[in-house]
């Protein structure tokens, strides 16, 4: 029966080509626009480290004074850590792994002739950074806890930066001039770019930037390297990066299971209580928080308002297209009242009529899905040419590809429901009289 209905559907669609084209076009445009924006949203809310995200947590303390007033425009100082708090958390070793870090852009003055000085983005971190996030190494390795303590002048380069500076990924032992200091290369990492760069603070272009070098946090502080994360202080800190009233560091921890998570949460509260007893913290210790990676990203609201607005607009457009198709299908099905009546009179049940028209709507949906896919690719191509930092991510993956067809079929079958229902309610006797 299915094959027969399919044949009927194709015949009927062929009979009125303009109307069919119009419906396919409408659903294709609606689906194309919606899938473009859904794909953008999908890639922006993706998991940056699929194998590890379940074990990574971001702690948060509240060292602010009671009377501190959060400005509506400035960043929240609590999103970052002060030096004393970050160091205390790292030194406490209560998690499987833990690292404190901050971003920085440094001027590199290449020794080679013909290369002008340039700025690169990188990260200052403590030793666990590499093992905790699983940064892949091509050669060498990261630094040790002893290097952290000794403020050793070493650096890990990305493959790209190593090749740019030395023409090879084997640059172990060579020296690179960062600002006014020479650092020895001890490792070369494969190019590693979690999207978004979840461990950077909100001031970074988290979808576009990648770290090109890594060096010990203590070394960076020793050499007075600038940081490019948000620095918020609530009283005068006199330019001292180790001040307890200046937040600028990020801390991440790796926790194995729920028991560890609960224990770490308690540890944060105990730490806050202890700081409060010492008179440093003023707010209740229960203000301390621990967020899972994906939960943290949700809270960061990385999807810009513009993108969300455009998604609503696209979905509104799809709705307009669907109503349009409902109207056109209704017109089309009711025009065939005579045909329906004959079939009913010859013994077809309402259910059969319903199925026949349902299949016809699904065929339109399928064609609309194919067109929608093409339009969505065009839309994503145009998104990739936007000036935003997320633009280059706009690519469709398999799940979105399947999603396109599911949405197209769903939309068209949904749109076909009312017309098909109306068509199968036609009273055969009345129609047959007029034939």
């Amino acid at each position: 029966m299915f094959g027969y209905y399919l044949d009927l559907a194709l015949r009927s669609l062929k009979r009125n080509k303009v109307l069919t084209a119009l419906m396919v076009l409408a659903i294709g445009l609606g689906i194309g626009a919606s899938m473009t924006m859904l794909t953008v949203l999908h890639v922006m809310s993706g998991d940056p480290l699929p194998e590890r995200s379940g074990q990574l947590y971001c702690p948060q303390l509240d060292p602010l004074p009671l009377k501190y007033q959060q400005s509506a425009y400035g960043p929240d100082p609590r999103l970052n850590f002060t030096w004393p708090d970050a160091m205390a958390l790292v030194a406490a070793h209560r998690a499987e792994r833990q690292a404190a870090m901050a971003g920085g852009a440094l001027l590199i003055r290449p020794a080679q002739a013909g290369l002008r000085p340039f700025y690169v983005d990188g990260r200052y971190a403590t030793t666990d950074f590499f093992a905790m996030f699983g940064v892949p190494f091509l050669r060498g390795q990261g630094w040790s806890a002893a290097d952290d303590a000794g403020r050793t002048r070493v650096v890990v380069l990305s493959d790209t930066l190593s090749r740019k500076l030395f023409g090879t990924d084997d640059s172990i032992g060579r020296m690179v001039r960062f600002g006014d200091a020479d650092l020895r290369v001890i490792g070369v990492s494969a190019d590693w770019q979690p999207k978004p760069m979840f461990y950077a603070d909100a001031s970074a272009k988290v979808f576009d930037d990648a770290d090109q070098f890594f060096l010990p946090l203590s070394t960076a502080l020793d050499l007075k390297f600038d940081t490019n994360s948000n620095q918020s202080s609530w009283s005068s800190f006199e330019g001292d990066m180790k001040s307890p009233v200046l937040t600028w560091l990020q801390v991440w921890v790796q926790l194995k299971d729920a028991a560890q998570v609960a224990a770490y949460r308690q540890f944060l509260i105990d730490y806050s209580a202890q700081q409060k007893a010492l008179g440093r913290f003023e707010r209740p210790p229960t203000q301390a928080r621990l967020y899972g990676l994906m939960n943290w990203l949700d809270r960061q609201n990385l999807v810009p308002a513009d993108v969300r607005l455009q998604l609503w607009l696209a979905l509104g457009f799809l709705l307009v297209c669907m109503i349009n198709i409902v109207a056109l299908l209704l017109a089309k099905f009711l025009r065939r009242s005579g045909e329906v009546s004959v079939r009913r009179a010859l013994g077809a049940r309402r259910r059969d009529i319903f199925l026949q028209f349902g299949i016809e709507s699904a065929v339109i949906g399928l064609a609309g899905g194919v067109l929608g896919l093409a339009i969505a690719q065009l839309g994503l191509w145009s998104v990739r040419h936007r000036p935003d930092d997320y633009a280059h991510l706009a690519q469709m993956d398999v799940s979105m590809l399947i999603g396109t067809f599911v949405l197209a079929m769903l939309a068209s079958v949904l749109a076909g429901l009312l017309p098909a229902w109306r068509a199968c309610r036609i009273a055969p006797a009345l129609q047959l009289k007029t034939l």
Binding site: L19, L22, A26, L29, G30, A33, S71, A72, Y73, L107, R109, R116, P117, F118, Y119, A305, D306, R308, L309, Q310, L313, A314, G316, F317, L319, V320, C321, I323, N324, V326, A327, L328, L330, A331, K332, L334, R335, S382, H385, R386, P387, D388, L418, R422
Partner: protein, 401 residues
């Protein structure tokens, strides 16, 4: 035109009629808000900025040794002045719309508070001419003020400042700002001049009403000055950028030198808005087209379904004009109902967007505006099917009875 028969026939076709109304309502609601967003963004792209936007080239030098600034900056300025076509050169800390905000709150009394973040600009000697500022009251900085003002803890060690007209009106409403004292963190500066409104470094961080909140301080050659402003004619600016990058590249081999025209800087800032505007325009056009085709399709169906009735009407004396106006009136009724619902919906969507997306309130004239647009679209779409209806010959009535 008699409306009652139309209403009677619409009552017979409730579902298709409701669908058209719904489609028009939704299209109207989306159109209203999309056009409003387009309008807002286009307005922001055209924000005025009282500097010589077309004639300025900006060369940014990063990574120069701050200790040598006192000797290097004057040397660089002399070299840049030698480029053909350059009429003025000065060093500065930042430019309007350069997206590197240096913000401070400024108030008229030492202990007052404000929600406006003011953009702070430090300009070197001749900065007012190189930037093309427009003086409205008072005077420029004199040579002594340029030479005697330093930079410490993100603020000026000098004693004078220039403010924009917006700030003069905000801080001292109804009075002249000249000679008044401007405070930030209990330090005061005397206002010596008022300039026409200059945009902030990044208006989205300035707070409500802070778009034109900018203050200028004089500054002797100092390591914080990373920008060189070169003024020329608009025809020369591209060449000036190229030559200036070469000149500074040679003079500062250890630093990163980048050059841009100010016009380029401005279009970079608005590139986002620009792409959003095009996308909104595209959605509006396509949506209107889809709506129009929907109306055409459904009306055609109605016309075909009523061929016999039309034939009978023609046979009993209705003219072509009567038939034509029947369908147009019918469409008018549907469009009017649709736009009425749509306007309410649009208003509701706007309220929601105001709550969640920092959208402004839509001015009232957008509502009747898009209602009229959809009403016209409906009339246009119905014209074809209605003409075909009018062309139905009266003889149809006799044939099928």
């Amino acid at each position: 035109m008699e409306i009652r028969p139309i209403l009677a026939s619409l009552r017979k076709h409730r579902i298709p009629a409701a669908l058209i109304v719904l489609e028009i309502a939704l299209a109207c609601a989306v159109l209203c808000n999309a056009v409003f967003m387009i309008g807002q963004r286009v307005a922001s792209i055209h924000w005025s900025n009282a500097i010589d936007e077309q004639g300025i080239a900006v060369i940014t030098v990063n990574g120069a040794d701050p200790k040598l600034a006192a000797s290097e900056i004057p040397r660089n300025l002399v070299a840049l002045r030698g480029i053909a076509g350059v009429t003025a050169v000065a060093a500065a800390t930042s430019m309007p719309l350069d997206q590197n905000p240096a913000l401070s709150p400024f108030v008229a009394k030492p202990d007052a508070n404000t929600t406006v973040n003011t953009s702070v600009y430090f300009i070197g000697s001749d900065g007012e001419r190189a930037m093309g500022l427009r003086l409205l009251q008072g005077r420029w900085f004199n040579a002594g003020e340029y030479a005697g003002s330093g930079f410490k803890n993100f603020s000026s060690t000098g004693h004078v400042a220039l403010v924009t007209q917006s700030d003069a009106n905000r801080l001292w409403p109804g009075q002249s700002a000249l000679g008044k004292t401007l405070y930030s963190n209990a330090t005061g500066w005397t206002v010596v001049g008022v300039v026409a409104d200059v945009l902030a470094q990044d208006p989205k961080f300035s707070g409500p009403g802070g778009m034109y909140s900018s203050v200028f301080f004089p500054l002797q050659p100092d390591g914080v000055m990373g920008d060189y402003m070169l003024r020329s004619t608009p025809q020369d600016r591209e060449r000036v950028v190229r030559e200036a990058v070469q000149v500074l590249g040679k003079l500062q081999p250890g630093a990163v030198v980048e050059g841009k025209t100010y016009a380029g800087m401005r279009s970079d800032y608005f590139a986002d808005s620009n792409s959003m505007v095009w996308m909104l325009v595209l959605v509006c056009v396509v949506m209107l087209a889809v709506t129009a085709f929907g109306i055409v399709g459904l009306t055609s169906f109605w016309v075909q379904q009523r061929r016999r009735q039309i034939g009978i009407r023609r046979a009993v004396g209705a003219t072509r004009g009567h038939i034509l106006s029947y369908f147009r009136t019918e469409n008018f009724l549907l469009s009017t109902t649709g736009t009425l619902i749509g306007v309410m919906l649009a208003f509701g969507i706007n309220l929601y967007l105001m709550e969640h997306y920092e959208m402004n309130r839509m001015p009232w004239y957008y509502l009747p505006g898009s209602a009229i647009a959809l009403w016209l679209l409906g009339q246009l779409a119905v014209f074809g099917p209605a003409r075909r209806a009018a062309a139905v010959p009266p003889v149809v009535a006799t044939r099928s009875v």
